[in-house]
C-alpha cells in the first residue's frame, strides 16, 4: 500500500468522524518496524523520549541540584514564554505556514498593555484587552494576506515582523516601564508572574497558563471538527476544499488565534520580567520554530502533535539549565540544540517511511 493511499484512508476515517482514529495495518516485521509504526501514530513520543532521557542524564550528572522540585519548576518558568509562543507557532505550521511575526506581536502587545495604562490612564483590564485585541488584529491581517491575497506565509510574516517591530519602537519611543511602577500602580499587568509554591516546587500563573493552553489546544486539534480541518488544510488545501472544508475560514481562525496567543505571551512576558521593555523577545520567532521542529511537527504541514512543541521547548530548557549547571560554555548549548533540530527532522523523515 502506498503512502498516499494510506493518507487518504486516514482522511476518510477522520472525515467520517467515527469513534476510531485512523488505523494502519502493520506490514513491517521486527522490533524496528513496530517502533517506527508506534512513533508514526504518536508523533510526540520522540521528543518525550528525548526529554525524559535528558532529565535522567542531567539528574545523574548533577544530582539533587538539578533533580529537585525547585530546578524542575524553574525550567518551566524559564520556558513559559517560548512555550506559549510555540503553541501559536504550532497551529500555523500545522497549516503548512510559518509565522515569523510571533515575537514582534508578543512584544508590541505587551507595550500596548503597558503604555495604554501609563500613558492614557486606561484601567488595566481594558488596557490588557486592547493588547489582546491588537494581537488578534495583526493575526487577522496575516491570515487575510495568506488566505485571500494568496501570498506565501513566509513572506507575509517576514514583512509583518518588521512592520510590527518598527511600530513597537516608534510607538513606545523605546521607553521601558519599570517593574516598581507597575507593581505600585498596575499590579494586574504582572498577574502572570503571580506564584504559588507546592512543597519546594514553584509555579506561576504563566506556567499554568502555558500547560492549560497546550492541553486545550491538543484536545481541540484531536477531537473537534475545527482541529481536523486544521490538519486537512495543512496536508492538502485543495483536497480539503473539495471535501467541504472552508479553507479560508480555517486559515483565518488559525492566524487570529496565533496572534491572540502571542498577545497572551506578551502579558506573560510582563509577569516574567516585571517591566514592560520594547526590546524583549527579539528571538522569539526562531526559538519557537526551534521548539516546534524539535517537537516533531512537520514543517510541510498536516503532521505532528502540539504536545510535541511543549516537549521541544522543555528539551531546550533542560539542556540550557543543565549545561550551565555543569559549567559548560553557553556555546555548547547552541551547538547541541542545532544538532537536535537536524536529528529531529531526520527522525521525522524516517518515521514517514513507515509504509511497507
Amino acid at each position: 500500500m502506498s503512502e498516499a493511499n494510506q493518507n487518504a484512508q486516514e482522511f476518510e476515517t477522520a472525515a467520517n468522524a467515527s469513534e476510531t482514529v485512523a488505523e494502519f495495518e502493520d506490514h513491517r516485521r521486527g522490533v524496528l518496524g513496530k517502533l517506527q509504526h508506534l512513533l508514526h501514530v504518536n508523533p510526540s513520543f520522540v521528543p518525550l523520549i528525548v526529554l525524559v532521557g535528558a532529565i535522567v542524564i542531567f539528574g545523574l550528572l548533577l544530582g539533587s541540584k538539578f533533580f529537585s522540585p525547585f530546578a524542575m519548576t524553574l525550567i518551566l518558568q524559564q520556558v513559559q514564554i517560548v512555550g506559549i509562543v510555540a503553541a501559536a507557532q504550532s497551529l500555523v505550521i500545522l497549516t503548512a505556514g510559518i509565522d515569523l511575526s510571533v515575537g514582534a506581536i508578543m512584544v508590541f502587545s505587551s507595550v500596548i498593555m503597558g503604555q495604554f495604562t501609563f500613558r492614557y490612564g486606561i484601567p488595566v483590564p481594558i488596557a490588557v484587552m486592547c493588547g489582546l485585541a491588537m494581537g488578534t488584529l495583526i493575526g487577522a491581517l496575516n491570515g487575510w494576506l495568506v488566505s485571500r491575497v494568496k501570498l506565501p506565509p513566509f513572506i507575509v510574516t517576514l514583512g509583518m515582523w518588521q512592520i510590527v517591530l518598527a511600530t513597537n519602537f516608534l510607538y513606545s519611543a523605546n521607553e521601558t516601564i519599570r517593574s516598581q511602577d507597575i507593581e505600585a500602580n498596575a499590579p494586574f499587568l504582572q498577574f502572570f508572574g503571580t506564584k504559588f509554591s507546592v512543597g519546594g516546587a514553584t509555579f506561576t500563573v504563566g506556567v499554568i497558563f502555558m500547560l492549560v493552553l497546550i492541553f486545550v489546544l491538543a484536545y481541540a486539534l484531536k477531537h473537534t471538527a475545527w482541529g481536523r480541518h486544521v490538519y486537512a488544510v495543512g496536508d492538502d488545501p485543495e483536497a480539503a476544499e473539495l471535501s467541504g472544508v472552508n479553507v479560508h475560514r480555517t486559515l483565518m481562525s488559525v492566524y487570529m488565534l496565533s496572534g491572540l496567543i502571542c498577545a497572551f505571551a506578551g502579558w506573560a512576558l510582563i509577569g516574567r520580567i516585571g517591566s514592560v521593555s520594547p526590546t524583549s523577545g527579539q528571538l522569539a520567532n526562531i526559538e519557537s520554530i526551534t521548539a516546534v521542529v524539535i517537537g516533531g511537527i512537520s514543517l510541510f504541514g498536516g503532521r505532528g502533535s502540539i504536545l510535541g512543541s511543549l516537549f521541544g521547548a522543555l528539551i531546550v530548557g533542560v539542556f540550557t539549565l543543565g549545561l550551565r549547571l555543569l559549567g559548560a560554555d553557553a556555546q555548547w548549548t547552541f551547538l547541541l540544540i542545532g544538532l537536535l533540530i537536524i536529528a529531529a527532522v531526520a527522525v521525522d523523515q524516517w518515521i514517514r517511511k513507515v509504509s511497507g
Binding site: K65, A71, Q78, N174, S179, K195, G274, S280
Partner: protein, 339 residues
C-alpha cells in the same frame, strides 16, 4: 510600467528637493549600532543639537540590530559619496569595519569612534569613549567597601553581555573583579579566575529577560550568592526579579553600569546599590565639535593624557557613599541621566 516610471521620477525629484533643502554647512555622519537602544537615541539627540548649533548638517545611520555590520559599511560608503567632513561611528564589528574606515580616511574624512574603540584602536582618527575598565573598577571598589569584612567570604556572580565577550563586556567585568580584589589571571578573558568566592558567570544579552534567566541559573548553582555584577541596568532589573521571586532581594548587593534614567531611578529605589554612569550625549556633541574643527582648521582631536582615547568621563552614582570611592548622589545622577 509607465506608472512605475512616473513614480520613480517623482521620487527622484522629491529626493533632490530634500537634498537641496538640506545643503546647509558641512555634513557630519553619525553611524550607530542600532537606533532603538536609548543609549544611541541619546547620542543622536546630542549630535543633532550640536550640529544645529554649529550650522552643520547631521545625517544619522544605524544598523538594524546589534551586530549588523553590513549596514554600517554601506553607511560609511554613503557618507564618503556624500562628501561628509567627518564620521562618528559606534562600530558593531570593531575589526571588520577597519577597511571601510580606512577608505573614508583616505578620502579625507575624519573618523571618530564613539563609545566602542576599533581594533586596533588607532584605526580611527580618534576615540571618544567611557573608560569601561574604570566604570567596572568603581563599582567593584564600592561593593567591596560596602560589604566590609564580609567581602572576604562574598559569593560573587557576574551577569555579562554575551558569549563572544566583546571588549566592553570584558572591561566592565574585569574592572569590577579587580576593584573587588579578585585576582584576574588573564585580564582579557572573562571566566578564567580561580578565586573561590566566584560562583560563576552567565550571559544576559543586556536585557531584562536575559538578566532574569542568568540570575536564576546561577542561583540554581549556589543560592547563597550575595553580590552581583551586571553589564547594564536592564540586566540588573531582570536579576532583581529573579532574586525577588525567592525572597532574597534585600540581602543581595547588585551593581551595574550605564546611568540611564530608569537605572538611576532603580538606584534610588534600592534595586541597584550603585551604578557607573556614562555620558553618550557628551560623546556625540564633542564628536560634532571635533569634526567642525577638522573642517575649518585641519586639526585632529587629542587623547586624554596617559590613555589611547579621549575619556568622556564616568561617575559612580549611589546614595550610600563609601570612604575612598568618589561618588555622586542619585539626585545629581538623575540630572545627568539619559534615556
Amino acid at each position: 510600467m509607465r506608472n512605475l516610471l512616473k513614480l520613480a521620477a517623482s521620487a527622484t525629484a522629491l529626493t533632490l528637493a530634500a537634498a537641496s533643502a538640506q545643503a546647509a554647512g558641512e555634513t557630519v555622519c553619525l553611524i550607530t549600532k542600532t537606533d532603538t537602544n536609548p543609549f544611541f537615541v541619546k547620542m543622536k539627540e546630542g549630535a543633532t543639537a550640536k550640529a544645529e548649533e554649529l550650522g552643520m548638517t547631521l545625517k544619522a545611520f544605524a544598523g538594524k540590530v546589534d551586530g549588523d555590520h553590513e549596514t554600517q559599511v554601506q553607511a560609511i560608503e554613503t557618507c564618503i559619496l556624500d562628501g561628509a567632513k567627518g564620521i562618528l561611528l559606534t562600530a558593531s564589528d570593531t575589526s571588520s569595519i577597519v577597511p571601510a574606515v580606512k577608505q573614508a580616511r583616505d578620502a579625507g574624512v575624519l573618523v571618530i569612534a564613539l563609545d566602542t574603540p576599533l581594533s586596533p584602536i588607532d584605526s580611527a582618527d580618534a576615540t571618544f569613549a567611557t573608560d569601561n575598565y574604570k566604570a567596572g573598577l568603581l563599582i567593584g571598589q564600592w561593593a567591596k567597601a560596602k560589604m566590609g569584612d564580609a567581602a572576604a567570604d562574598a559569593k560573587i556572580a557576574t551577569l555579562d553581555l554575551n558569549v563572544s565577550q566583546p571588549t566592553v563586556d570584558v572591561l566592565r567585568n574585569q574592572g569590577f573583579l579587580d576593584g573587588f580584589g579578585v585576582d584576574l589571571a588573564d585580564p582579557n578573558v572573562i571566566g578564567d579566575e580561580t578565586d573561590a568566592r566566584l560562583v560563576g558567570s552567565d550571559v544576559t544579552d543586556g536585557n531584562e529577560e536575559g538578566g532574569r534567566r542568568a540570575m536564576e541559573n546561577l542561583l540554581a548553582k549556589d543560592s547563597s550568592i550575595n553580590v552581583v555584577h551586571t553589564i547594564n541596568e536592564p540586566a540588573a532589573a531582570g536579576a532583581y526579579e529573579a532574586l525577588k521571586s525567592i525572597g532574597r532581594e534585600n540581602d543581595v548587593l547588585i551593581v551595574s553600569v550605564d546611568g540611564g534614567c530608569p537605572g538611576v531611578q532603580n538606584v534610588e529605589a534600592g534595586v541597584i546599590g550603585a551604578t557607573s554612569q556614562q555620558y553618550p550625549l557628551l560623546m556625540a556633541s564633542l564628536g560634532v565639535e571635533a569634526v567642525k574643527k577638522w573642517a575649518e582648521e585641519g586639526v585632529k582631536p587629542e587623547n586624554t593624557p596617559g590613555k589611547d582615547f579621549y575619556d568622556t568621563g564616568v561617575a559612580l552614582i549611589t546614595d550610600q557613599p563609601v570612604d575612598g570611592v568618589e561618588s555622586l548622589s542619585v539626585a545629581e545622577g538623575l540630572d545627568l541621566c539619559w534615556g
